[in-house]
């Protein structure tokens, strides 16, 4: 069920808040140092890093999971960073935060999945994967003085014998299951949109689910015109292994609800699109993105 980011600690008194802020700097050097109010500030700072990353969204129905992300490039000259990774035919992950950390964790997840398939000749159940990820990769890093928490939040979407699942893994080592969730910058706007609609997701068709994902992405853009080059969308489901949607498919969905702005700016838009198209071609298809990771 949808819920806002769960705070590990609750504070009932404002005074405590003030005091905590005053002492914050004394207890936040080490991840292995508790604060007097029972908080691990390094872990909380790691969760802040997730909020700084560009948005990632996940939603699921009974039979499908859609992961979507916003393509934000550092500058006009560079290509955007890959934020959605295939872990296996039946599992995908979208990340927000330190993408380098995310790549490393994706590699770990892929390795776990392959090893499980090798030993048991069957696909790794999603729930098992997120537990291993939370315990081994994330929690451990909050309890060793020579390590630091991973600064990345992961939306793990997958399909197994018990159906479709969507999990969110925190840098703290906590994980939660969701019907739909959004992380990263301006994700609150997407979450508000999803909160209004999530009750219908379970029975949604694949197409409606994709449309909702793209609409949620639009919420995070806050005014910017939604173009297929700005987002990456991936789908997986029963009889449908994890794959990315190509630019044309995404644009078709956008066209169903963004007709008016397209017509008005036809002349200028077309030109800009043509120039942007060759550079962005690899975006959703992910064939031209340099295999820099691993």
């Amino acid at each position: 069920h949808l819920s806002l980011r769960l705070s590990l600690y609750t504070h009932s008194f404002d005074e405590e808040e003030e005091e905590a802020k005053m002492f914050r700097n004394q207890y936040d050097t080490d991840v292995t140092t508790w604060s007097p109010t029972g908080r691990l500030f390094q872990v909380e700072y790691a969760m802040e890093a997730v909020k700084q990353g560009s948005a990632a969204i996940g939603l699921r129905s009974r039979s499908h999971v859609v992961l979507a992300s916003v393509n934000k490039a550092q500058s006009e000259l560079s290509s955007h960073q890959r934020k959605i990774f295939k872990v296996d035919d039946h599992i995908g992950v979208a990340i927000a935060g330190l993408t380098a950390d995310g790549r490393v964790l994706s590699r770990y997840m892929r390795s776990e999945s392959i090893n499980h398939s090798f030993t048991y000749e069957s696909p790794l159940p999603v729930g098992r994967l997120v537990v291993r990820l939370a315990d081994k990769a994330q929690q451990v890093c909050t309890q060793r003085s020579w390590k630091r928490p991973y600064g990345v939040g992961l939306l793990v979407g997958g399909l197994d014998e018990s159906g479709a699942h969507l999990y969110y893994n925190c840098p703290s080592g906590n994980y939660f299951e969701y019907q739909a969730f959004a992380i990263g910058s301006r994700s609150q706007a997407a979450k508000t949109y999803l909160e209004r609609r999530f009750e219908s997701f379970n029975e949604s068709s694949r197409e409606d689910l994709i449309k909702d994902a793209i609409l949620a992405i639009r919420e995070t853009l806050q005014g910017e015109t939604l173009k297929s080059s700005l987002c990456t969308v991936s789908v997986l489901g029963v009889d449908e292994p994890f794959h990315f949607l190509d630019q044309d498919s995404i644009q078709k969905v956008i066209d169903t609800f963004e007709k008016v702005p397209e017509e008005e700016e036809d002349g200028g838009e077309a030109e800009a699109e043509a120039a942007a198209a060759p550079a962005e071609q690899g975006g959703a298809g992910d064939q031209d993105v340099a295999p820099m990771e691993m």
Partner: protein
Amino acid sequence: MTKQHANWSPYDNNGGTCVAIAGSDYCVIAADTRMSTGYSILTRDYSKIHKLADKAVLSSSGFQADVKALQKVLKSRHLVYQHQHNKQMSCPAMAQLLSNTLYFKRFFPYYAFNVLGGLDEQGKGCVFTYDAVGSYEKVGYSAQGSGSTLIMPFLDNQLKSPSPLLLPAQDAITPLSEPEAVDLVKTVFASATERDIYTGDKLEIMILKADGIRTEVMELRKD
């Protein structure tokens, strides 16, 4: 006092024969479907051909438990490759991987006699033939397994592979057309079945081309 020898062996030979022929734009990989142990038949319907990648197909005779284990390792390694490089492994790349994997167990080898067939990066057929510890060579055609000694001389006669020592370097690809090569394979297996007790039952043929893989099955003598 004579040395005591082990009365248990970790290996067994399940018999069978594998053949592959490379053409200009196709590759034919064939194997019989009989699995034996000693003088008994375990099953008449076991496939010795395994697709490793879109353009690479492995056929192995020998100890099928080792063959299965080897296939699993290669499949996992291929997945890792796909994650890292965002594409399927080419046949020459798979050939090298197979060689390395076999040599890795140099001192407790996979009892597997392999023939790897597929299409190279230019779309031409290629066949790689191996021994049990990974020594391999790119050839135009090859046979491995219990019937190989019966088949290989006949393929040499029909396909006459040029010597790798000749200059200029000549391709080992056969000029035969695809239907001709398939026909040759059927003939060759029919003959081997006559004299090799471990070869027979059914013949499974996989034809690899740029547009996909086609499979044919032919009956063989069951005695």
